[in-house]
Amino acid sequence: MRRDVFQAIADPTRRAILLLIATQAMTPNALAEHFDSTRQAVSKHIKILTECQLVKQEQTGREIFYHLNPKKMKEVADWLEPFRQLWEARFNQLDNVLKTLKSKKS
């Protein structure tokens, strides 16, 4: 199943996972220790991040380590963000127009 990268990073747990593995590669167990949710729940988040190629896994001996895929992260930030911000700026202006309209109405 194709995953949308922006939906993937919209989730707070997944953002926390990205932050954790940004500093150092981590095993599934080490990662799970940082969250109150079950290991299965954390694995599900990692699976989504892996499908989006934001996270890569590497086998070292008997352990699996999760790494951040900086290329993909950069792609997300660089490529779509300016266009999104264009709309954000546009809609922030619209918020002000609506505020004025509402105050005129009441």
Binding site: I9, P70, M73, A77, L80, E81, K99
Partner: protein, 167 residues
Amino acid sequence: MSTTKTQLIAEEGKHDYSIIREFAAPTELVFAAFTEPALLAQWFMPQHLNLQVNKMDCQTGGAYHLTYQGPDSNRFGFRGIYHEVVENNYIIKTSEFEGLPQKLDPILEKTVFEDIGAGKCKVTIHTICPSVTYRDNMIAAGMEPTLTSTHSQLDKLLITLINKTVK
């Protein structure tokens, strides 16, 4: 509270994208802001670009033509036809970008207004482009130096992550 209110969904290898945003105003007001020329002119472009509404007949079969000041005193614009307008519900229109040396095919845009209760309205703009390349170029053109960027929480997070990992 997060400052990232606008969601952009643009999947890799597809020729469409969606923009989703909630507004703290009733649907009638949001619809009016999209369809009344004097209101649209107040928000659709940054003020210094001097957006002009040359024509805007927002009803099924009507036409519109907007122009604005681009970099190096070039004028750019959009024109198209309102294929279908259903008040406080949705707008389907074509949009052709003007001002480039080459002629572009128009895009098809459906804007849906949804009452989500508590005096709020959710707007979803679904845009369909003639090809994947066209869409990708259009999104990349969002980098034009005409808009002030605001850094949201997530942008900062991403930048921190990139700085940490890309040497």
